[in-house]
C-alpha cells in the first residue's frame, strides 16, 4: 500500500465508531519511526505542532480514541450481562450520569413486567436503594411524577381489557391535549393512564384516539418529547427504537447518541431487532447493516453485524 493510502486507512481506523484493530496492527506494527513521524506531521486533525517542536496528539482526540477502544468492550459487557443487572446499571447511569429521561422511559416501558421487576430487584442488590427512591430524590423536574410512575408499574399482561374504558380514556386524552396545557406531563389523567394501564389497553386507547381525532397520539404529544417517547415505547417500541438508531447513525448529537447504537442493538437483538431493521429500512432507505459498515470499525463493527444477523436466522 502506498504511504498516502496507509495514512488514509490509519486515519479512518482512528475515527468513527470503534477502532479498526486489524489495520492498526498491520500498518502501525510495521512502521519505522520516520513513517510514524510523517503520519504525525501530515495528519493535522489529530496532531498539532507544539511550540516546543514536536507533533502533539490533540487531547480531545486521545480521549475520544480511548472511548472508541472501549466501545467494543462495552458492547461485549452489555451483551453478556444478565438483563436485570444490565437494565439496573443503565437505570442508575440514566439517573446519576444524566439525567437521561429517554433511557428511563425506554427501560421502564419496553421491558416486560417481569423484566422490569427483575431490574428493580437487581437495582436493590447493586445499589442498596430502590430505583423509585433514587429517581424521586434526584430528579427535580416536572417529569418526576411520570418517571416514578413508569418505573414502579407492574402492568397486567393478560388478554383482557375494557373496550369502553379505553374509549373513554382516549376521549380524556383528546380533551386534555386539545386544551393545550403547557405542562402536559403533569396532567394527572395523562400520568394515570400512561403509568398504570396495561399495554394492550393502551394500544386500544391509541387506536380509538386515531379513529376519533384522525391523528396519532404520539404525534399529537410531539411537543412533549417524554410523553411521545412514553407512548411509543408502550405501544410501538419498534418505531421508538428506529428513531433512536436513525439519530445515532447520522452521527450527529452527543456521545450518548453513539452509545445508543450499542444499547439498542444489544438489548433488542433477541427481542424485536428484525422488526426494527425493517422499519429502519422503510424510514431511511438504507439497511441497518449497510449503515453500520459505513460508520463503524473493527471488532465493534463485526460484533454488531453478528448480533444483527441473529434476527435473520430466527425466522
Amino acid at each position: 500500500m502506498a504511504a498516502a493510502d496507509e495514512f488514509g486507512v490509519l486515519t479512518k481506523a482512528f475515527t468513527g465508531l470503534g477502532v479498526d484493530e486489524k489495520s492498526l496492527i498491520s500498518i502501525l506494527g510495521k512502521w519505522h519511526p520516520e513513517h510514524k513521524q510523517s503520519f504525525r506531521k501530515t495528519t493535522r486533525d489529530i496532531f498539532i505542532e507544539d511550540e516546543r517542536q514536536f507533533e502533539r496528539w490533540d487531547d480531545r482526540h486521545v480521549q475520544k480514541l480511548q472511548q472508541e477502544f472501549l466501545r467494543f468492550k462495552d458492547a461485549v459487557v452489555l451483551w453478556t450481562m444478565h438483563p436485570w443487572e444490565r437494565d439496573a446499571r443503565l437505570l442508575w447511569e440514566a439517573v446519576y450520569k444524566g439525567p437521561k429521561y429517554g433511557i428511563l422511559v425506554e427501560i421502564a416501558c419496553t421491558r416486560s413486567s417481569e423484566e422490569l421487576l427483575g431490574a428493580r430487584r437487581a437495582y436493590h442488590s447493586l445499589f442498596e436503594h430502590s430505583i423509585e427512591e433514587d429517581i424521586a430524590f434526584h430528579i427535580h423536574s416536572f417529569e418526576k411524577k411520570l418517571l416514578v410512575g413508569l418505573v414502579s408499574a407492574y402492568r397486567y399482561e393478560g388478554p383482557k381489557y375494557g373496550e369502553e374504558v379505553a374509549k373513554s380514556e382516549a376521549k380524556i386524552l383528546k380533551n386534555v391535549i386539545k386544551d393545550g396545557a403547557k405542562k402536559l406531563h403533569e396532567e394527572e389523567e395523562i400520568v394515570r393512564i400512561l403509568t398504570t394501564r396495561s399495554k394492550l389497553h393502551l394500544k386500544a386507547v391509541f387506536k380509538h384516539y386515531k379513529e376519533t381525532s384522525g391523528n396519532y397520539l404520539d404525534e399529537d404529544l410531539g411537543d412533549h418529547l417524554i410523553l411521545k417517547q412514553t407512548v411509543q415505547c408502550l405501544c410501538k417500541p419498534e418505531t421508538y427504537f428506529t428513531e433512536v438508531l436513525d439519530v445515532s447513525l447520522k452521527g450527529i448529537g452527543h456521545d450518548f447518541a453513539k452509545e445508543a447504537l450499542t444499547r439498542v442493538i444489544v438489548t433488542r437483538a433477541d427481542v424485536d431487532l428484525k422488526l426494527i431493521k425493517e422499519e429502519y429500512h422503510h424510514l431511511s432507505g438504507f439497511t441497518l447493516s449497510h449503515k453500520i459498515e459505513e460508520i463503524a470499525n473493527g471488532n465493534f463493527k463485526d460484533f454488531l453485524l453478528t448480533l444483527i444477523a441473529r434476527g435473520d436466522q430466527e425466522n
Binding site: 428493580r120 430502590s130 423509585e132 424521586a136 410512575g149 414502579s152 407492574y154 393478560g158 383482557k160 394501564r197
Partner: protein, 316 residues
Amino acid sequence: MSTLIVPPHVPSVAEDCEQLHKAFEGWGTNERLIISILAHRNAGQRKAIRHAYAETYGKDLLKDLDKELSSDFERLVLLWTLDPPERDAVLTDEATKKWTKSNQVLVEIACTRPSKGLILVREAYHSRFKRSLEEDVAYHTTGDFRKLLLPLVSSYRYEGDEVNLRLAKSEAKILHEKIKGKHYSDDDVIRIVATRSKAQVNATLNEYKNEFGNDIIKDLEHDDDNEFLPILKATFECLVYPENYFEKVLREAINKRGTDEGALTRVVATRAEVDLKIIKDLYHKRNSVPLHRAIVKDTHGDYEKMLVALIGEDDA
C-alpha cells in the same frame, strides 16, 4: 410470632378433604368439624387441601364453603382459607371498589407486608381480576389520596438494614417543616413515606424524635378536620410500628358499638400466621384483658369459635 396451632400429627391431606366433604353432607353443616380442621392448618397445608379437594370432588372448596356457611363466620373462614397473596388481593379489590376516604386497608396492606409480599399480592391481583392493582387504585381514588395511595401500592422498597443517618436527619427536618406548615400531602412527604426503605423511615422517625422532641405520630394528631391526616398517620404506623397499628385496629373494632366484624376478621385472618402473638400480648397490656376474653364477650357462635381458634386459645 404466629398464634396458629397445628397439631403435632396432622392427618393426611386426603383425610382432611374427606372430613371437610363430610362436614357439608346432608342437612346443615358441621361447623365444629370445619373449624377443627381449617383453623389448625397452615397456609401450605390449606393450599394442599384445596388442591386435593378439587381433584377428588371436582369442586372448589371455597365455593362449597360459600354455599354452606353464612355471615361473619363464612367470611372469616373464606378469608382464612385463601392463600395470603390471594387474600390480600381480595381485600385490596374490595377496598378499592368501595373506597372511602377513611378506608385504611390499602395503606395497611401496602405498608405492613414485606416488599416481596406486596409483589405477590400484585401478581395474585393480576390473576384474579385481570387488571393491575395500581390501575384500579389510580382509577378509584382521587386527589391527595391517590397521590399517596398509588405510590404506596406500587412500591418495591429496598429491604436491607443499611441506613444513611445524614439523610435521615435531613429528611426528618423536611417532614417536620412540612407538618408544621400543614402541608401533609407535600411531594417530599409522599416521596419519603412511599419510596424509602422501612429501615430508613424508621431511622428518620428516630431522628425526628431526637431533634424535635415528639413522636411524629403525636404531631400528626392535631388537625381533627383534616381527612387526609389519619391516612398519613396510618402510613407511618404501618411502616414502623405495625403491631401497634394492628392492636389499635382490634381495640377499636371491639370497642365499637356493635363491633366492627370486618376489621376484626381481617386482622385475625391476616396476622394469625405472622405476628398475632405480639399483637395479642400488646392488647392484653393495653387493655388489661386478654384478647380472647374480649372477643368472647363481643362475638358469639361459630364466628367466635373460629376467632378464638385462630388466636390460639381454643382447646384443640
